[in-house]
Symmetry: C2
Subunit: 410 residues, 2 copies
């Protein structure tokens, strides 16, 4: 056994979260794609079967009340809340991340304008140019529909780009490609200093590290639930609206589910108080209750412990890659300082697509992101240190093979 393999064994033995792995359905593969689709929590299949067979099949329409379907968006939101540092009553689950970005950005612009007093108004939205593309596309639409100018900037450029014209800023907590963790507290403070509103996309951070939404005064936030929250494919996203801002949250999608009296069937719209104001149409019950069940895996798991293990896993992976992979064969694009690192490692290499295919064939599942990135997500709830060592070892083997073939062809 190599030194690193022995180290991995010791680290796994000392891992306080090691037992959480049993709450998931896993196999022999090293699954490093939980940052794209989280593994299946073991309690989900039976819960979903009950929702389908009994709640829908037997109780049918009565389940809207009797099975708690109607209140599921808020109830599930309150399960996510502690993972992102939010007190209850501020998170609601529903719709996709893209749709929630639209709600949040438009509402943020409206808030920014509401507090203006004849100084010419605010007409700019700043958006992280390195963002997952959908945020940029939706931000452009939000800007177009609120008569704003969209200014794409890198997160580093944000402080310098903020002015009295800035209405809202859309930022990613962790960059989906490089895994870089941005400084949420200081960027939020900078946005507030010019009187603008901060919208954070937590897709790649929630469930992997503490977010501290309440603590850091974030205004609005959105995130998906199918990555580190393991809610299942396309599980509904969530929207956080800071309590002090809820009364001013003016949704561009005021569906009947966000009405103060949804069953009053009134012609005039009167928005609900609190988190339900972020709802739109009828909630997607199958997916929502699968997510609710999936959140059971967090029972007794402090997010701080998850963060500590996440950093230990990514540190160890970088160390193993350094040891096993010939220098220069891959380039790490994930920041090394802990305060700038999410829960993934992204390695650039020229033939990344082919390399990832081989890795998957050999039971190391990461993903490929255009044009040349190998992305490995480390989900502390079910990834261990031996997995990490194996992944780096197999990567080195595959890189040697692929290089050999390329040479052979030349």
């Amino acid at each position: 056994m190599s030194d690193l393999a022995a180290r991995a064994e010791r680290l796994d033995a000392a891992d306080g979260l090691a037992g959480v792995r049993e709450r998931f359905v896993l196999d022999e593969a090293v699954y490093l794609d939980g940052n794209s689709l989280g593994a299946l929590p073991a309690n989900v299949p039976d819960r979903v079967a009950d929702v389908v067979r009994r709640q829908w099949g037997e109780l049918r329409i009565r389940s809207w009340e009797e099975s708690g379907w109607w209140s599921a968006p808020e109830r599930t939101g309150d399960r996510i809340a502690p993972l992102v540092g939010a007190a209850p009553g501020q998170v609601v689950v529903g719709d996709s991340t893209s749709v929630n970005v639209f709600k949040a950005l438009v509402a943020a612009v409206r808030m920014a304008r509401e507090t203006e007093h004849g100084d010419g108004g605010r007409d700019e939205i700043l958006v992280d140019v390195t963002t997952f593309p959908t945020d940029g596309y939706i931000a452009r639409s939000a800007a177009r529909m609120t008569d704003c100018v969209l200014r794409p900037v890198t997160p580093d450029e944000v402080p310098g780009a903020l002015t009295g014209r800035t209405a809202a800023v859309l930022l990613n907590h962790v960059d989906y490609r490089t895994g870089r963790l941005h400084d949420l507290p200081s960027l939020t403070a900078a946005v507030h200093a010019v009187g603008a509103y901060a919208v954070w996309d937590l897709c790649h951070s929630a469930g992997a590290l503490p977010v501290g939404l309440d603590e850091h005064g974030v205004d609005l936030a959105v995130g998906c639930t199918y990555k580190y929250l393991n809610g299942g494919p396309g599980a509904p996203a969530y929207l956080y609206v800071r309590r002090e801002l809820q009364e001013r949250f003016d949704s561009p999608l005021p569906g009947w589910n966000s009405h103060a009296d949804p069953f009053g069937m009134r012609e005039e719209y009167e928005p609900a108080k609190g988190a339900p104001r972020g709802r739109v149409g009828t909630p997607d019950i199958l997916s929502l209750l699968a997510l609710e069940a999936a959140l059971d895996v967090w029972d007794g798991v402090p997010i701080e412990a998850v963060r500590a293990k996440s950093l230990a896993l990514t540190d160890f992976f970088l160390e193993c890659v350094d040891a096993y992979v010939p220098a220069g064969r891959v380039q790490n694009v994930t920041p090394v300082p802990h305060e700038q690192r999410g829960s993934q490692v992204a390695l650039r290499c020229p033939d990344a697509g082919a390399v990832m295919e081989r890795l998957i064939e050999r039971g190391v599942v990461g993903d490929f992101r255009h044009p040349d990135v190998l992305r490995f997500g480390f989900t502390p709830l079910y990834v261990g240190f031996a997995d990490v060592e194996r992944a780096a070892r197999v990567l080195a083997e595959v890189l040697a093979e692929v290089t050999g073939e390329v040479r052979g062809e030349a």
Copy 2:
């Protein structure tokens, strides 16, 4: 056995769709709420279990390709298409009805303006004032965000309200409260005559009667899938964009799923061709694949046969109510002429809430709609004529009891 009960027996014996009931999970109750939540198709539980256990639990991320997750919105849309009279490639499934109303109305306004040539533009949206409220709320938001005026009118007033200023008209095919079927062909033609665009909400018609979207030149349409399409609680809605208009469909929610090259992760948005242009974020796979399975119940079932049975059921119900319920005790608000009737019967009575509670206790499940409507939906795939006779008979019994109590209290 009463004459009506005997008639029911003969009608059931002659019913060519009677066997379809076996494709559903049902019990002894008469379920007349399929216009709110369709019953569970018998093949859905196993399909959902496979999606959860094998596709998510074992194949995990590979299922986006291998299990056809990525293409499910269009594939499922093409299963709905024949039920609403649409050729393939024009219907896409995803998001809620409310969100799709927003997409469709904003896109319709943009199309209307695009075809204008300096004549002052179009700045009005007409909306059915009797609509299910969410359509009105969303229409108001769409108007606000496109600098339009919202004009609520009754469907009868629409032809007189159309002018050169009209950009788009949002109409319901069947009124959710009264069950009135509106004249889609002539209203669509009237909208087109002034150069405006027609958006139809099919929530209460799709799956109950032929819609003929292509035949009647409808521009855009939306609908839910959890009523007559039996897709399950909160199952995703669908959006129809007429083929000739797809190139001009300019979505206010241009998420990454609607990009021409979604995995290219490009900064610039380039909309996909065809139905995928109506997509937004990651599709909700559990609900979507439950819906896809649910659509199997339509195999070999012509929508024309469903319509014929639907009218026979509602005719028979009205006849039984006339025979069993004392005159004046309830008032039918559903139109009697076939060409104006959907697949439900709405009866007004002063104590409708209490009456519906008693009905449900006695195994006749309809629903109550504020303030005084008893609503009975007739789903031809699983409701028979004996069910209808029983429902009317139990209704008469309950009305006699509730009246007696009210008198006793006086």
